[in-house]
Symmetry: C2
Subunit: 357 residues, 2 copies
């Protein structure tokens, strides 16, 4: 058994090229009641004409099922009542929530171990949900140093001092390979429709979004009654302010609208569930580095928005991690080196809100 | 606990829209020692020039990591020695091996339950491995009735009598959504390179391919020493014949080359490991329906090829399922209604070849 354990360990180390501890695998088994995958979202197009079986390669009368989301679910033994639905951000896919770039466990495994059923999603037109209904030309994008900076790992080629990001070349290799293209033009309404359909299928659950996935979350909430809470890591864009609550100027970033304004009755939906928003470190006070400062603007907007939600009787919290003594987090706190500490914060909040029954 | 069990069951039924049996979840737990994901394949391109942090949106001097495969692995407690690596086919992704279109367990779960570590792969430029290094234009494809026929579910809109395929509309909906586009031009050498890199990383394992993934398997074997056996479901194309063994005409299908010819010393690699190939039902004797007959041609070529492999001292088997009394299988035997019976055949073969230690 010991020898076998060591063999397993060696294999896993080879797989991830990283720091699993001896014995961890044996001690740390995952017990699942079920796991599986499915697509959600029902758009079907039919080409005019009649399909002739002898003429298979003619599109006439044939169908195209597309614009669905791809979902992988895992249900631990004795699962808690409310599943966690994980929504990735711009340019990323569900890998966001899986094994970290340096090979440690991500939120998918961490929260399975803590008894939550997890639904990890590739949004429509991304990753495994690639079958879409519109044309696109994808050209190779040389943009990885841009993301190194915008995701606040550092200012390429320098890492931020104390950044919670492993500095081995293999980690950066895996990190860059988490990027995947859209297989169809951007359509945030479509993404929200797919998530709303998922929540209506699985019934009450908790939405956990990252970056643009935060934006998708705000738009999903108003389409379904089955979101029990929203957790948002560095949401990017689309914060839903009540009309007239702030000046339109306050809602722009680099000249582009950065937040939405909703009729008050629609905005009130955001006062009916608990919401928590987290932001990481290295957010400059001033705009010399726009690729960093954009996140400062979003943090400030999020705080302003949470105040308004709470004025209207809601329960919104914004946590700027350095303000509670947690330093060095990037745009991906849930996969940073201290992601267990980040998971502990969320676990405590879920308990406080009685969402971990 | 009972109530909870029923709640879980209800949720799973909603999820999969299918036939989980009461109690099954509680009885049927999966115990994992580990699970995780990573990308394999190392191509990196760098745009000439110098990256200026103040000028993030200029590609100059930035990198592009692409053309990798995406891999999700799960290791059961007390795993057997040799993992199973699952390779999907043309137009498909790893969903091939996961939950079936009608919501039952696929080979991923079935073989985890039988003690095998599984590696389920999205090949480069497909699904979650979408980040590629060449441009492509993707246009919506109205082709689903073509695949209904070519995959031998029936002749649209008729199902084959006795076909091992559930006839509910939701099953067909999920089946069609398993299709996903290439995010870059087709490059079988690239796919084989990625699989070879995976085998060299995880060490000895068993290659299980479907359709075009069978073709990829033949090309992978000659690039790595770590394939212990090849299992191929309805392989499509690229069977590696020794030069001069058969006439070139015998190796074409609809005028296109359907098999390869290798120098004998390279071909001999295929005599050094056990190989098994399975074909399903509804293979016509004659070519009135080319979309069905193409598979008849491939079956005949596979039998011819296996004879030659065995003449050279190898161990190749071709199983035409109806010949052993198993009827109604489509191009996807491993996800057909009788996929447990199909898995039992493979389990017995692995045991016979001492590959299940």
């Amino acid at each position: 058994m010991k020898k076998n354990g060591i063999l397993l360990l060696l294999r896993i180390q080879l797989i991830t090229g990283c720091n699993h501890q001896p014995g961890q695998l044996e001690e740390n088994q995952l017990i699942l009641a079920a796991q599986g995958s499915f697509m959600v979202g029902r758009k079907v197009l039919t080409r005019p004409g009649t399909f002739e079986p002898g003429n298979n390669f003619e599109p006439d009368g044939q169908t195209l099922h597309g614009d669905h989301a791809y979902v992988f679910y895992q249900q631990p033994a004795q699962a808690r009542t409310y599943p966690l639905v994980f929504a990735h951000g711009y340019g990323q896919f569900s890998k966001t929530w899986k094994t970290t770039p340096d090979g440690r466990e991500g939120f998918q495994n961490i929260f399975l171990r803590r008894g939550f059923t997890t639904y990890v999603v590739d949004q429509p037109r991304r990753g495994r949900a690639g079958r879409s209904t519109e044309a696109i030309t994808i050209t190779p994008a040389f943009d990885e140093q841009l993301w190194f900076n915008r995701f606040r790992v550092g200012i390429w080629p320098e890492y931020f001092e104390g950044v919670q990001f492993d500095r081995s070349p293999e980690t950066l290799n895996q990190y860059y390979r988490q990027i995947t293209p859209n297989t169809c033009p951007f359509d945030i309404k479509l993404y929200a429709d797919a998530y709303a359909a998922l929540f209506d299928q699985i019934r009450p659950a908790i939405y956990i979004g990252h970056s643009q996935g935060g934006n998708v979350g705000w738009r999903t909430l108003v389409k379904t009654k089955n979101i029990k809470a929203i957790v948002s890591y560095e949401p990017g864009g689309g914060l839903p302010f009540p009309e007239g609550a702030v000046t339109s100027d306050a809602l722009t970033l680099n000249g582009r609208p950065e937040a939405d304004q909703l009729p008050v009755e629609e905005f009130m939906e955001f006062t009916k569930i608990p919401i928590i928003i987290y932001f990481g470190d290295n957010l400059p006070e001033t705009g010399e580095r726009p690729e960093l400062f954009e996140w400062t603007v979003r943090l400030r907007l999020a705080k302003q928005w949470a105040d308004i939600v709470n004025q209207y009787g809601g329960d919104a919290t914004v946590v700027h991690l350095p303000e509670i003594g947690i330093h060095g987090n990037t745009h991906f706190p849930f996969s940073d080196l201290n992601n267990i500490e980040i998971a502990d914060l969320l676990t405590a909040w879920l308990k406080d809100k009685k969402l971990d029954k």
